[in-house]
Symmetry: C2
Subunit: 243 residues, 2 copies
């Protein structure tokens, strides 16, 4: 049983709604074994003296098929929660690209796309973070670990949720003491140029749309087909991402 | 100097425009050292007896921020070329999600997003193909090699183009005799569960939007920022994807 950090977050000045949003994310991370995105982040928040617990994100553009949000000083978790809630309340007729400026930290990206898929939407989400990965060929740190999370709803129950960081380990795992900072390299060993290329592509995609500060790009769409049940049947007992 | 396969493609029944589109793609693949997507594909097309050289794709939906195309029996290369041309002629005010049904084979995805980025658009493209990758834990082949290509335009010249297949090798490399079919596994060695998760996510994303037959999902957006020059400066002499 993971202890609920709600009261600790309330003590940091977050109101009931925000403390609940944050606590739910951290507890879910612990329960999924992703301690780097879990309660260690509450410890971390408690060490910061510049968290504006009253800040809330703003939707700065709302056009057909496109939205832009600004974190406006809020924690990225709260910005993604606001985007997810707003998208589920008003889903696109077909698809929507949603850009979050100044949106950091964002935690376990699978958490946000899972909620969208549980609400019936296909979702793909990426996010930037401090530069921690360099080229396998050497040189400076160039990109964040820049995860890509993709969730697909299913008529037979749970969505499939892939959530992949381009780092061999996450910074969260380093923070939680579960991994060594020296392993903050692109994953893939002899193929790590591939993870590096993905990290660069995702970095510049977000930078081009959201600007210099860390941000997110989310694509949501209504599914036209229901491929998961047949895929699970084909997979047989093989564990699928997010299970 | 790569021999131009234009006349060979004309001999297969393609008209001047289609033969030029196909030849340009295959020659570019050869010049980039991606022989598996190059002239070996002309050899391969010459072995097929069911290529409908007169078939052309159709745009089946055109809504704000969303398009759906149908390959309509045409080679996937021709469908992507039509999507790229149409998108460059009529770019979205902000962003657009474009789904291509029955769109296969699609070749070197970096080629298509590079053209979009040279025309000023940020682009991300994925495509499905026959199931050739299984879970690192075993079991049946579940996904295509499902590349993800991302291109970002730059005010200082060449775009950055990441183009990553989730396979340790591509099927094209196997076709071209450059790799062994046994290496058609998710890339990443001890981290290959990550490439497998990405392959599954991209597979089901495309399947959910484009249906059972192989298809593509493309996201294009107008950049709001120009991050590549500063990124290249930070990278110094480090080679970036697509260079």
């Amino acid at each position: 049983m993971v202890p609920d950090p709600f009261e600790r977050l309330r003590s940091l000045g977050f109101d009931d709604d925000a403390a609940r949003v944050l606590a739910d994310h951290f507890v879910d991370a612990e329960e999924r074994g992703k301690a780097g995105h879990g309660l260690s982040r509450v410890d971390w928040l408690e060490t910061l003296d510049d968290v504006d617990s009253a800040a809330r994100p703003l939707r700065t553009l709302d056009e057909p098929g496109y939205e832009q949000w600004d974190g406006n000083g809020a924690l990225g978790y709260l910005t993604l929660d606001a985007i997810v809630r707003s998208t589920l309340e008003d889903p696109p007729p077909r698809a929507r690209v949603i850009v979050g400026r100044r949106t950091f930290p964002t935690g376990m990206l699978g958490y946000w796309v899972r909620r969208l898929a549980e609400g019936g939407l296909v979702a793909a989400l990426t996010a930037t973070s401090p530069r921690r990965l360099g080229s396998p060929a050497g040189g400076p740190k160039l990109t964040g670990t820049n995860p890509l999370a993709i969730a697909i709803p299913s008529s037979d129950g749970d969505p499939v949720v892939a959530d992949v960081s381009m780092g061999k380990v996450t910074y969260g795992a380093v923070l939680a003491g579960l991994a060594d900072e020296a392993d903050l390299v692109p994953f893939g060993e002899e193929s790590s140029h591939k993870a590096f290329a993905l990290a660069v592509g995702l970095q510049l995609l977000v930078d081009a749309l959201a600007g210099e500060e860390h941000g997110v790009v989310l694509v949501v769409a209504r599914p036209e087909h229901d491929p998961v049940p047949a895929f699970r049947a084909l997979a047989g007992g093989v564990r699928l991402p997010g299970d």
